[in-house]
Symmetry: C2
Subunit: 353 residues, 2 copies
């Protein structure tokens, strides 16, 4: 096919091979039903014309696509890309394509993407909802679309979900800070409409209460518009001017912590001497920051794989039973939250709890 020419169809191939269009289709879909010689002629014709099947036509006939949608909050957060990789690795085995959509935590963009995915007739959707309402998810399910909640806790038993115990994760972080003697803690959180944010907050407060402290007095919360490095960096001046003068900070994820450390460094404020920092996710770069970042680890890739498998089961298994699979977080202590000392910074390699 040369430039400008119309894309060749199965009909063009048939003509060239001197067979009917049905035969070409058979070569494509059930080659064993076609005589060897004919098959070869057709294959040659395909080669010569540069024919490539149209997904649209296939789909229209089949009534469904060969793809699944993955809706995440932020492509530039390694947490989500690693999770997506887990999903993709599972889907590849079933010859399914992953359509990746990043909402940037915007409900409006989520709605738009979900509509797009339905228009594309994806076979299923894996989603970390941007809001708490789940109305987008509900709409999908009402239409009979298999859906798995990604990294998103739910009390409901009628929908598949994989998630990590974020309340516990928040508590791990909180307890760690409290045990290190911090009584004025800043919490850089995202919108509470995001389930993970609300849960981590709850855990943090719980930890304080359990230590006999009053969260309302000890914690000053900063609600970032989004959990990004930019926002984490932008909040630094406010943080340093906070009348409560926090000595420790808990960031709702590592990307925010990255921004925070960046901002602190820019203002020549030192960590952890002046401000201890704890992140969340334990993404790859966390261990490598300056100082290395204490973080709450999640089994990210595994989360993705598990979610992918659940979706495949829901899509293909008539006896599918909805499951909510819970993973446990783990605190990894590093320099960003450690008191300095001769054996302090740098000596520590990350201690899990």
């Amino acid at each position: 096919m040369s430039i400008g020419a119309r894309r060749p169809t199965i009909r063009d191939v048939a003509e060239r091979a001197g067979v009917s269009l049905g035969t070409v289709s058979n070569v494509l879909n059930r080659p064993d039903r076609v005589a060897l010689a004919t098959r070869k002629r057709v294959l040659d014709a395909i080669e010569e014309t540069g024919f490539v099947r149209s997904t649209a036509a296939y789909q229209l006939r089949a009534g469904k696509s060969r793809s699944v949608g993955v809706v995440i909050l932020d492509v530039s957060n390694p947490f989500f890309t690693e999770m997506a990789r887990g999903i993709e690795d599972v889907c590849r085995d079933s010859d399914l394509v992953v359509v990746l959509c990043s909402t940037d935590e915007l409900a409006e963009r989520e709605a738009r993407y979900l509509r797009l995915l339905v228009e594309q007739r994806v076979q299923g959707v894996l989603i970390t909802p941007a809001g708490r309402k789940l109305d987008g998810v509900e709409r999908l399910r009402r239409q009979g679309m298999p859906v798995v909640l990604l990294d998103s806790r739910t009390g409901r038993r009628d929908i598949c979900a994989v998630f990590v115990d974020d309340v516990k994760g928040g508590e791990l972080a909180g307890r760690h800070l409290v045990e290190a003697g911090h009584r004025r803690i800043a919490f850089l959180n995202g919108p509470l409409s995001i389930r993970q944010c609300a849960d981590r907050r709850r855990g943090l407060r719980q930890a304080l209460k359990r230590a006999g402290l009053d969260p309302d007095r000890c914690v000053s919360e900063y609600h970032l518009g989004a959990l990004t490095a930019t926002q984490g960096e932008a909040v630094v001046p406010k943080l340093l001017a906070d009348p409560a003068r926090p000595t420790g900070v808990f960031c709702a994820n590592d990307v925010v912590a990255l921004g925070l450390l960046s901002g602190l460094r820019r203002l020549d404020s030192s960590t952890p001497e002046q401000l201890a920092v704890v992140g969340y996710d334990d993404v790859r770069f966390a261990a490598m920051l300056s100082p290395s970042l204490t973080s709450v680890r999640q089994p990210i890739y595994e989360l993705g794989r598990t979610a992918g498998r659940l979706l495949l089961d829901e899509m293909t298994n008539p006896d599918h039973r909805h499951q909510q699979i819970l993973f446990e977080p783990e605190l990894v202590v590093r320099d960003s939250s450690s008191p300095l000392g001769p054996e302090g910074r740098g000596a520590r390699r990350g201690r899990r709890r």
Copy 2:
């Protein structure tokens, strides 16, 4: 629509609204041609039935989709996701969906994705080729598919491309190391089949030659299977056992440098005292590593936007002229390559050249 029911079609909507199917289509595509009352009835029927247009059917009619393909080397590399964001931001304005494909530098996977994209009849493709051959790209173009090379130098004038001068980037890194007195330099590079890798290598060697040094003697090259943190970390033992005992390392990208620093730390080797490190890309986290990473900066987001605009132009403008747009790299010096001193580490915030 309830679970298990067939998905409603435009025909179901028409029936429910008591109009013909053509009218429903008009409401969808040219609402002004339909009387207000009718339109309302149809809209209600759409709402009630839960009708969602099928992209497949639309495409089949239109002969094309509303999407473009973006083929990158690695989704988990912030360099590529930031570039993708630039592309997406441009495409959104034209109501185009971006299909993101990550080849992990595997030619085979690239071929598979390209085929998939053609099957989907994407309107254009932006690609960082996994190999040097460009045969996948050639095939696309022969089929009349608009293609823009992403971050990929080409001498050809008959194809759009955006790229940064990687030879110069390599040279910046090399000169910096040489000027700092390094005479035994390790180069952690990816496969030379990747254009960027070959170019950065050339630049590095050029810098040495210009300084009157012999690259063959001064540089020991390590060809990683892929430019990932894992590979960067895995090479550390070999690096430390290198008979040439390098004092400086140039990493072909920041993700590799991240892995390298990680591995060095694990083995208690110190940077930059024992080994100066220079990365490439200057992604967000580079400034925040421990030690902060000297890196060759590229205008990443801008690269994406520019590429997106070129593709849109090629797709829509009959007078389109192919352009190769070159950006300049910039060295950002930080602690990972600096000699330590009282005013040394930490004092430095990143100096551009």
